[in-house]
Amino acid sequence: MPDKPGRNAIEVKNVRKIFGTGEAQVAALDTVSVSIRENEFFTLLGPSGCGKTTLLRLIAGFDFPSAGEILLHGQDIASLPPFKRPVNTVFQSYALFPHMTVAENIGFGLEMLGKPKAEIKARVAEMLKLVKMEALSGRRTSQISGGQQQRVALARALAPQPKVLLLDEPLSALDYKLRKEMQIELKRLQHETGITFIFVTHDQEEALTMSDRIAVMSSGKILQVGTPWDIYDKPAERFVADFIGETNFLTAAIANIGNGKVRATLKSGATIDATVAEGFQPKDNATVVVRPEHAKLTNGKGELSGAVENIVYFGTDTHIHVRLDSGEAFTVRQQNTRSAGCGFERGDTVGISIGNDAAQVLRD
């Protein structure tokens, strides 16, 4: 996973966006700062209403920040109208022009830039080939399927060779299989064009599989920025740990703080080593998270013990829900094999062993 610091394509500095006036004021973005590097696949991830689309619209120029700066390659673009920004958008609804053909849609941006006809024609042909839509270039956009519309929307936004491509939940309208296909397609396009992609989604799986880096947002704030691995394995806050994947929360007493690591004493009395979010000094008590696949169910050994409450079969793996002796809930994910079952039954008394380096202390 590339996490090399490169030049910044977009820098968002202390941006606030307030909607409404007086009593009804809502801060859609509350002092947000983030840097997006060149040629990066960057994802803004968060639940609906977290401000991710607002941030995207500010970068596109459809809305203007109430305060703060937005830099594109070091130049402040926050007050420029959208048609003066070398940034293009793939809209959630695609927003294809219904009165134009596929080819005319793709060529529209170039035409508006005043490019010569021959160049537009060549570039449109190139784009049609890139998104594999050559055969349908003369069709109206109402005569093609949702997946094809998605490809046209991509080609239309890529045709003017923007510095940054903004994608506003572009895959949300597609069915599961098509969405998987388009995820791979998007990665390929980003790789082939070398354009910086800023991708907005509420789908954590989509974010993890596609992004170079992810910014997790909630209530108008960016909570954590990092590689998918960072976000998943070293969540800084409870919201991030909870929003991305499934996780177990345990309360623990903290001791031996130092060097980014602590010794945490769990309610069961067992002690485990845990990593700490960067720059965070935990107090005496803190929440420790353990991912379900980083713990192992045993016949008695382990840091924790409890009783099996429920067993859920998922095909690739099985989730075993355990009620710990301390009263807390804990889930273990176990890889399935073809020959044997999971080896446990409801009501079994079990131990749980937590792997080395499996626990993380959250900033509370």
Partner: protein, 306 residues
């Protein structure tokens, strides 16, 4: 026992019968109030005028000849009826200018209305329909009150010292145009608004995103998409404007005869019902041809755009 197919066919037959019954009142009204009288007018146009109005039941193409031709009283030779051509042209010109003026005023108005919040939109819609509450004649006299020499505009301008003598607006072509634009504006605004309201404004954003300036977005995205409304509005304004009767008389002072005045004259003082009938049908044919050409052309240019 009846087969399923027979049952289905019977149901379909019953369905068709019901539809005919339901539309019968409307069809009867249309026939007796519109198509029927029109047929009478058509027949009258081929008859001979009676001495005191009315018609003599005797076939004559004379009325149709005199729509555009003039028979010399001495040697019976035909020449172009310059007076009629002038009147036709004057009316057509006025209708075209009125259509353009209402379009220029109505398009921004409709855009303004469609971009308001849903609640305010209803208010604007309501305000636009207020003029329909009053009779056309009264509305026209209201305009007269505003533009006459002692009217609102001239009084205010005189008081402010901007002019030293009243501007003569009343009884000029400008007065007619002001009145026509005022009377027909809602007929242009409403259909454009109906189209504009359905417009997906995300397409406008997409246009801006793809480097189109405000004017280019208007020309390349908004206008083509609301064109059905523009066409409907133009038709709704052009047709009644071509036959406008009250407004040109009241505000133009009847100095310049319009088509409607010419036709009225044949049924009144002129006592030439066949000529009046022929003129009426001629106007109808002109309107139909013009509309067909307009709609066809508008449709074609849409295909060319995309």
């Amino acid at each position: 026992m009846a087969s399923a197919e027979e049952v289905a066919r019977e149901a379909e037959r019953r369905d068709i019968r019901t539809r005919w019954l339901l539309s019968a009142p409307a069809l009867l009204v249309i026939f007796f109030a519109a198509t029927g009288p029109l047929l009478i007018v058509l027949v009258y146009s081929f008859l001979t005028p009676g001495p005191y109005g009315d018609v003599k039941w005797q076939f004559s193409p004379e009325a149709w000849i005199s729509v555009f031709m003039e028979r010399d009283i001495f040697d019976d030779t035909l020449s172009l009826a310059a007076a009629h051509v002038t009147i036709f042209w004057r009316s057509i010109k006025l209708a075209i200018i009125t259509t353009i003026a209402t379009l220029a005023l109505g398009f921004p108005t409709a855009y303004f209305m469609a971009t308001r919040s849903e609640k305010t939109r209803d208010l604007w819609l309501f305000l636009i329909t207020i003029p329909f509450w009053t009779n056309l004649l009264i509305r026209t006299f209201a305009v007269l009150q505003i533009i006459r020499n002692e009217g609102l505009i001239n009084t205010v301008l005189l008081k402010l010292g901007i002019i030293s003598a009243p501007i003569q607006i009343l009884f000029t072509d400008t007065a007619i145009l002001i009145g026509m634009a005022y009377v027909y504006l809602p007929l242009m605004v409403l259909p454009i608004y109906a189209s504009m309201e359905k417009l997906d404004f995300r397409l406008v954003e997409a246009g801006y995103d793809l480097y189109a300036t405000r004017f280019q977005v208007l020309r390349r995205i908004i206008f083509p998409l609301v064109k059905p409304g523009v066409i409907a509005g133009s038709i709704l304004v052009f047709i009644p404007a071509l036959g406008a009767y009250v407004t040109p008389i009241v505000l133009g002072g009847g100095k310049n005869m319009m088509l409607s005045n010419l036709i009225e004259l044949q049924f009144g003082q002129g006592r030439n019902w066949p000529l009046g009938s022929a003129l009426s049908i001629a106007v109808m044919v002109i309107v139909m041809v013009a509309l067909l050409a307009y709609v066809r052309n508008a449709g074609r240019s849409e295909v060319r755009h995309g």
